[in-house]
Amino acid sequence: MALNLVKDYGIIGICSSYQNNLKADGLVKDLNINNINKALKMVGLDDNILNKSINDLTLSEKLKVELATKLQENTIVIGNISNSLNFKDQEYIKKLLVKLNSDYHKSIIVIDEDVTVFFNLVKRIYVIKEKQIKYETSDFFDEELYKWVKCPKIIEFINFINENEKRLNNNIDIYELIKDIYRSVS
């Protein structure tokens, strides 16, 4: 189902749970990855990882290795970024996914339960539960979306401040929000 959805948008987000599916024993170097050194470098790993046992990988390494195995695919499905990566690595992987879409024309499906992962990344968000699309939107400030999934703190804050009077613009960037607050209180 998701493969049909992504054709129109290039990069989509799916709010759902996801199991990282790097299920293999053995060493990283034994995985079937084309141009393995280049693929690992692209996802932010160095050659040291080649001789590491897959079972000994950290959550972050597992996700990056999984992504490396998928770089040759036309549609890349990756998930659980929020649970596996620290914030710096999340931003790195998100930029990589954008590049894979814009420069290499890959379709990207990101699956996560944390909507903030989709900021500056996806063009459309789908809520899928029990294999059905329950909701879809392109607007992070769509209130209906947050009847299905947890609302990001920045959006919750702006909606709260604007409860009785429109004081702040819709923003997903905290630095733009600060400027907006400054203008509002000055």
Binding site: N83, E113, Y182
Partner: protein
């Protein structure tokens, strides 16, 4: 950390080897029933609470507090750290910084370099200080609104 009853651990590179450092804590890494936790005096949650609604996590922690059960929450979600008193930041194996939660988050530059995102309200408070709009660190949006738009 020994005296603390509620602790959050955030790692820059999360892995299960961290659990070896707390051998006397029972590990919870999949769904559970609250009542099942009563049999333990020390519990460690491994990356399992991240996507729960905050009120649900508060409910779990309150239940544990009421039954004098010590707990550690290992998580990538810095927002949840505001629900415990003590915070420890690890790299893969070693403690980088620890202390009472708000005090740890005042090391903003170090944490950003490590790739740790501050909880939204803490980051907002620190930016508001930079703009001379407050000298406080807010812990909730209600106090923040009250201070900025009295």
């Amino acid at each position: 950390m020994e005296e603390e009853t509620s602790v959050t651990i955030i790692s820059t590179n999360l892995n299960r080897k961290l659990l070896n450092k707390y051998p006397d804590y029972h590990v919870i890494d999949q769904s559970f029933k609250l009542d099942d936790l009563l049999q333990y005096s020390k519990i460690i949650f491994f990356n399992i609470l991240n996507n729960l609604e905050e009120n649900k996590v508060k409910e779990i922690f309150k239940f544990l507090d009421n039954h004098n059960i010590k707990y550690i929450n290992i998580t990538n979600n810095s927002e949840l750290s505001l629900l415990t008193n003590y915070l420890i930041i690890y790299d893969e194996n070693n403690i980088l910084i620890e202390g009472h939660t708000i005090e740890v988050f005042k090391n903003e530059k170090l944490l950003k370099r490590l790739g740790i995102k501050l909880p939204f309200i803490i980051e907002l408070s620190l930016l508001l200080q930079d703009y001379n709009l407050t000298n406080k660190i807010f812990l909730n949006k209600e106090d923040c609104r009250g201070a900025l738009w009295p």
